[in-house]
Structures are given as structure tokens and as C-alpha cells.
């Protein structure tokens, strides 16, 4: 068994080297497929971060009348937190609201003075509500409209921004779906192209395959070298692809950050480096091995 494995690896490396032109041609195509695959992963992460940061900016606030007691407001808060649609609820008391108002207008003397002259805090307490899924804000708003007495509430922002929020929610949803479909489509294209290239490579070896059979080689001996070659293709192309993508990511990261402040591409790339390498290896070797395996089947009947 050990001798057999040793011989198969030897044949694989030998054939890989002696048919270098074919090997290089095949690897170029696999490399392109890998670059598409890696590009999809990275652009997927970027798009996701972009969408998330937009999604994070959407919230609805409920402003209470100044007469509403804090207990009442906290009760509503905890009721909201029971809802599955709600991701988080933040309570901003009147004092906190005033504090942040002062903070925001620190440089503006007129406003600061105006606030000082008032004897009472004019600002309302509020609850900031974020939903896990932006399309669920209407449900939350409905709940608020139906279950919180109008006597307590000054205003609910959703009622004012409903159109914008709903439109954003549907844009987010569609972008995710389109992104997923595009990724799926491109992955399938990449796999098919790589598969066909390996298929042609093996087709050009069909005479040798039948000779091996006629000389008394069992299927393992015929298939093995091609599978070994598939592994070599995968290994080499994965390394090259990572080597090509790394500088691109390094160079592009600051520009990406300009558009999407939440996206630190370098940080993502370094922290996920080994995972990315692993994906590449799995993808490359997977394509190499599986397509060799399938492609040889039909020539083993001799």
C-alpha cells in the first residue's frame, strides 16, 4: 500500500512536470477561478459591512411627554425588549438628553445661553429602538401605536420617516439577495470553467489511460496520478492566488475605508488569513481532485 502511494505520487509529480505546458494552462484557469472565488469572499465581506453600517443608522425613537413618569417609560422599554423583532432598546432620560444637547452645541453661545435661561429642562425622555431586521420596524411602530397610550407620547419618529425606512429596508434586502445570487452564479461559472479545463487535460491523456489499463494497471494506478496532479494544481494555485491578493488588499484597504468607515480590510485580511488560505486550498484541491476523478471515469472502461 505504502509502495503504491509512493509510486502514485511519483507518477503524479512526473507527469505534472513532463506535461508542463498542459499543467501551466490548467493552473492558469484554476488560478482565475480561485481569484474570482476569493474576490467574492472579500467583496461579500465589504458589502456586508456596508449594508450593516447603513442598517445600523436606522432606528425609531419614541419621545415621551414631560409628564410621563420614568417607571412608565421603563415598563414600555422592558415590554419592547420582550419582542423578537427588537434588537436593542436604549433609554435616554431627560437629563441625559439635555446633557448631550449641551455637548452638541458647546461652541454656540446663543443656544447655550438660551438653555441656561430656561428654568425647566425642555427636552423629552426617549427610547431608541433598533430592529434586527429593518423590514420589521413597521411591526414595532404598530405595536407602539396600539399599545402605548397617546397621552404619554409626544411623537414616534417612524410615523414621520416611514417611507424612507421602508425603502431603505427593501433596498438592503434586495442588495443582499442580488449579492448572494451573483456570488452563486460566479462560483458556478468558475467551477465549471476549471472543471472543463481539467476535463480537456485528461481527454488529451485518454490514450495513455487505456494503455495503462491494457498493461494491467488497476483503476487506482490510472486515477491516482491524475488525482495527485489535481492536488498539486490546487496547492500551487492557492499559494499564487494568496500572493496576488495580499498586496491588492493592502493597497486598496485605505480607499475602502474612505467609503465604508466600518470596514478595516487589512484587519479583516490578517485576522482571517489562515481561513482564507484554507478556503483557497479546499477550493483549488477540491476542483482539481473531483474533476480528475469524474473526468477519468469514462476512460476506465477498457
Amino acid at each position: 500500500m505504502l509502495t503504491a502511494i509512493h509510486r502514485l505520487i511519483k507518477y503524479g509529480i512526473q507527469t505534472f512536470w513532463r506535461q508542463r505546458l498542459l499543467s501551466i494552462a490548467t493552473m492558469v484557469v484554476i488560478l482565475l477561478a480561485l481569484l474570482v472565488f476569493e474576490g467574492l469572499i472579500i467583496s461579500g465581506v465589504i458589502a456586508n459591512t456596508a449594508i450593516n453600517s447603513i442598517q445600523d443608522k436606522i432606528d425609531i425613537s419614541i419621545y415621551f411627554k414631560t409628564a410621563t413618569s420614568e417607571d412608565e417609560m421603563l415598563r414600555i422599554k422592558s415590554n419592547l425588549e420582550q419582542m423578537t423583532e427588537v434588537k436593542s432598546v436604549e433609554y435616554v432620560s431627560r437629563d441625559e438628553a439635555l446633557e448631550s444637547f449641551r455637548e452638541r452645541h458647546k461652541g454656540d453661545v446663543t443656544i447655550s445661553q438660551a438653555v441656561e435661561e430656561l428654568e425647566e429642562n425642555p427636552l423629552s425622555a426617549s427610547l431608541n429602538i433598533k430592529a434586527g431586521d429593518p423590514s420589521k420596524y413597521s411591526i414595532i411602530a404598530n405595536y407602539l401605536n396600539n399599545n402605548v397610550s397617546g397621552d404619554l407620547v409626544e411623537k414616534i419618529t417612524y410615523n414621520e420617516n416611514q417611507v424612507v425606512i421602508d425603502r431603505l429596508a427593501s433596498i438592503i434586502k434586495v442588495s443582499r439577495q442580488v449579492g448572494l445570487l451573483a456570488a452563486l452564479f460566479l462560483t458556478i461559472v468558475a467551477i465549471l470553467v476549471a472543471f472543463n479545463t481539467i476535463l480537456l487535460g485528461i481527454y488529451s491523456n485518454r490514450d495513455e489511460i487505456s494503455i495503462m489499463r491494457l498493461v494491467g494497471a488497476s483503476n487506482i494506478y490510472v486515477r491516482g496520478p491524475f488525482v495527485v496532479m489535481g492536488v498539486i494544481y490546487g496547492l500551487i494555485t492557492a499559494v499564487i492566488s494568496i500572493a496576488l491578493v495580499t498586496p491588492v488588499v493592502w493597497f486598496a484597504a485605505p480607499y475602502v475605508k474612505l467609503f465604508i468607515p466600518a470596514m478595516d480590510l487589512r484587519e479583516y485580511f490578517t485576522s482571517h488569513f489562515f481561513l482564507l488560505v484554507l478556503y483557497q486550498l479546499l477550493f483549488g484541491i477540491g476542483i482539481g481532485v473531483i474533476s480528475s476523478f469524474i473526468a477519468i471515469r469514462r476512460y476506465l472502461k477498457v
Partner: protein
């Protein structure tokens, strides 16, 4: 040793061509048998049936204790290691050297490396190609290629060597060399089955001749000459 029992082979296509019809013959160990006939008489089909490349439409093909007509593709490799085959078009592996081509037959049989080295050297010596061992196939002449093929066929010490028009692509001088080699192998105790349409060779051999015509055995003579009925 080899036994064809009522073997027929029909290629099912638009014309349903019958390549072999009710073929019966036995070949004993150490025999040297020539199968002769025109192109299309069924010689190659007969050999394909013997090495399991094709299955008979009717009848049985027996080789030693193998019933080849009943064998599955998975069982064929083991049987083929007992038959050495030499083809008209050599069927050598182009990405391997002469040495590696011969060694391949032993490697796939799982022989240990040291044994392989000894055996390959020995047969390459026998076919007078020791100095071309490291040459790739495209660097060899036609006669040399065929001698590599014979070396590969005999390196396993098979019970029988089957040669399908081995001289078809060679000049008279090289043809003679190949036939002499097959005779030597036969003298060492290996059964040889030679399919050919080369008249001189058959006449010179003076051994058993089976004449095929239109897929039928027309004559089977112990010390035959090549003549079409």
C-alpha cells in the same frame, strides 16, 4: 491454455457487422501460433476478446483459469498481468522513458523496487536497448519502440505473449528482428500468439497457422504456410 469456444462477435451498429463467427480453437502451453488473414478478417477482434478489451456476443473465451467472457472491468488488470501484449502502434506511454515504460508493468503489479530494477535491466538487455533506457519514446526509432513494447510485455514473465501485427509499422529488417525476438521468448517457454498478414514471416516460421476469413476459421494447420484459401 487458451480456449475459444463457439465465439462470435457482432458489432451492433447500423450494419450489425459480424467480426467473428463460431470460432473454435485451443492453444497449448509453449506453442507458437500465427493467426493470419486479410485486414478485416477478425484478427484484431480475436485479440481484443482475449485481453478483455471487448466481450464476445456469444461463446466463451478461456485463458488458464480465467473465463474472460465473464470478467468484470475490475477483475481484468490482474488477468492482464499474465498476458503480455504487443501492438502494431506500440502503445507506449509518451511521458515515460523506455525504462519507465517497462517498469510500469511491474510497478502496477506491486512488485518491490529492487526486483523491478533487476528485471527491467535484464529484459532491456535482452531486447538490446540497455543504452536507450533513459530515452523518451519519441527519441526512439520504430524498431526500438517495438522492442521496448516487447520488453514490457515479457517483463512480468507472462504465460502468453500476444502480438497484434507487431511488424505492421516496421521495415523488413526490423520486422525480422522482432520475430526473432518472439521466437527466442517462445523458446524460453512462453506461449506466443502472433496476428499478422506478413506472408514471409509466417512461411519462415513454419509453425502452427490459423487462417481467419470473414470472421471464420478457415484452416488450422500444425506446420502451416501462409496462403489464403
Amino acid at each position: 491454455m487458451i480456449n475459444f469456444q463457439n465465439v462470435s462477435k457482432i458489432y451492433y451498429n447500423s450494419s450489425n457487422h459480424s467480426a467473428l463467427v463460431d470460432v473454435n480453437f485451443k492453444i497449448n502451453p509453449r506453442e507458437f501460433v500465427s493467426i493470419v488473414g486479410r485486414s478485416g478478417a477478425g484478427k484484431s477482434t480475436l485479440i481484443k476478446l482475449l485481453i478483455g478489451e471487448e466481450k464476445p456476443s456469444k461463446g466463451r473465451v478461456i485463458f488458464g483459469h480465467y473465463d474472460i467472457s465473464e470478467m468484470k472491468p475490475k477483475q481484468l488488470p490482474e488477468m492482464r498481468r499474465h498476458i503480455g501484449v504487443v501492438f502494431q502502434d506500440f502503445k507506449l506511454l509518451p511521458t515515460k522513458t523506455a525504462y519507465e515504460n517497462v517498469a510500469f508493468a511491474l510497478e502496477v503489479a506491486g512488485r518491490p523496487q529492487r526486483e523491478i530494477d533487476d528485471l527491467v535491466e535484464e529484459v532491456l538487455d535482452l531486447v538490446d536497448l540497455a543504452d536507450k533506457a533513459e530515452n523518451f519514446i519519441h527519441e526512439l526509432s520504430g524498431g526500438e519502440k517495438q522492442r521496448v513494447a516487447i520488453a514490457r510485455a515479457m517483463v512480468n514473465r507472462p504465460d502468453v505473449i500476444v502480438a497484434d501485427e507487431p511488424t505492421g509499422n516496421l521495415d523488413p529488417f526490423n520486422s525480422l528482428g522482432i520475430i526473432t525476438l518472439l521466437q527466442q521468448i517462445n523458446q524460453l517457454g512462453t506461449t506466443v500468439l502472433l496476428a499478422t498478414h506478413n506472408k514471409e514471416i509466417v512461411n519462415q516460421l513454419g509453425r502452427r497457422v490459423i487462417l481467419l476469413e470473414n470472421g471464420r476459421v478457415m484452416r488450422d494447420v500444425a506446420k502451416g504456410k501462409y496462403s489464403l484459401a
